[in-house]
Symmetry: C3
Subunit: 122 residues, 3 copies
């Protein structure tokens, strides 16, 4: 049973990337990381986003895969970690051969740690 638990945790954790790693990538002008805001909400509801994020709603992701770059690593996030939207976006990306992670703790955790955000572009 312990092996099963450890394997489960290993796979679970391999889906996530932590905010420190993402922050370092965002500060590196040559980074291959792209942060995708996959919230299914209009700009005025979203308000703020992670600084430098690109908006691509989870509901539109499957139809817009050709606008993505296979050489990049995508980091997806939703409002909170309690939703399944981030995992849905992640499954679409991984199933289509993209390198991708979900941001641990989602936007809520990012804001809670006072990391850089910006208003969602109109």
């Amino acid at each position: 049973m312990e092996t099963e638990k450890i394997n489960f945790l290993k796979t679970y954790l391999s889906l996530y990337i932590d905010h420190n790693t993402v922050l370092k990538e965002l500060e590196n002008p040559n980074s291959d990381y792209v942060v995708l805001d996959v919230r299914n909400a209009p700009a005025q509801i979203k308000g703020d986003q992670i600084k430098g994020a690109r908006a691509l709603a989870a509901k539109d992701l499957a139809q817009n895969l050709d606008s993505l770059d296979q050489s990049k690593t995508y980091v997806v996030y939703d409002w909170t970690a309690g939703t399944t939207l981030g995992k849905m976006a992640l499954m679409i990306l991984l199933s289509n051969g993209f390198k991708a992670f979900e941001l641990s703790s989602a936007l809520e955790g990012w804001k809670g740690m006072h990391l850089p955000t910006e208003p969602v572009p109109a």
Copy 2:
């Protein structure tokens, strides 16, 4: 590793149902869906519930399976997605041959989207 991640996500996501699907079912008078409020709390603490939900606390679920209908599809929810109560209820239902899902984002997400609720009947 990617296949393992994708299979993990596929199984994880197959446990959940999203609020839009549930909302449509609640509006359909011939729906086979039944929403179960599995919170382990007295009515006065619970306050509001999802409109039309039936209260059946997770702690009482295993003893009350004969009050459920094998032809229905059950949607369980707890306060938030951060608890394990919904998954516990889901495991009991699936293990006993019921069709069942956990509501993605739980009651917190439902309220956050201003979807219909009602006071818990006394």
Copy 3:
């Protein structure tokens, strides 16, 4: 598919321990349970902790395993269940042969139920 879902849930739930069980252990002077606060934050940010918890940040855990006791059962918690820190700590403990669980609903759930906390020792 149902078997796969049930096995997934079984493994998932086996990682967690609920607050009632932990509370009973904390009240038992001969308990083998030790609660570990694995938050990666300085004491003044942490504020309160679960009464009787020992602070051992997730980031320092791997380097401090020899300060732990193989005969104990460790219960780890982070701020909320939405983070991956608890699962990371849990994986380190299980991989090194310790008996360990993550506290269901994390510190947020514990406080939400008004269970005993105390100021983090300076």
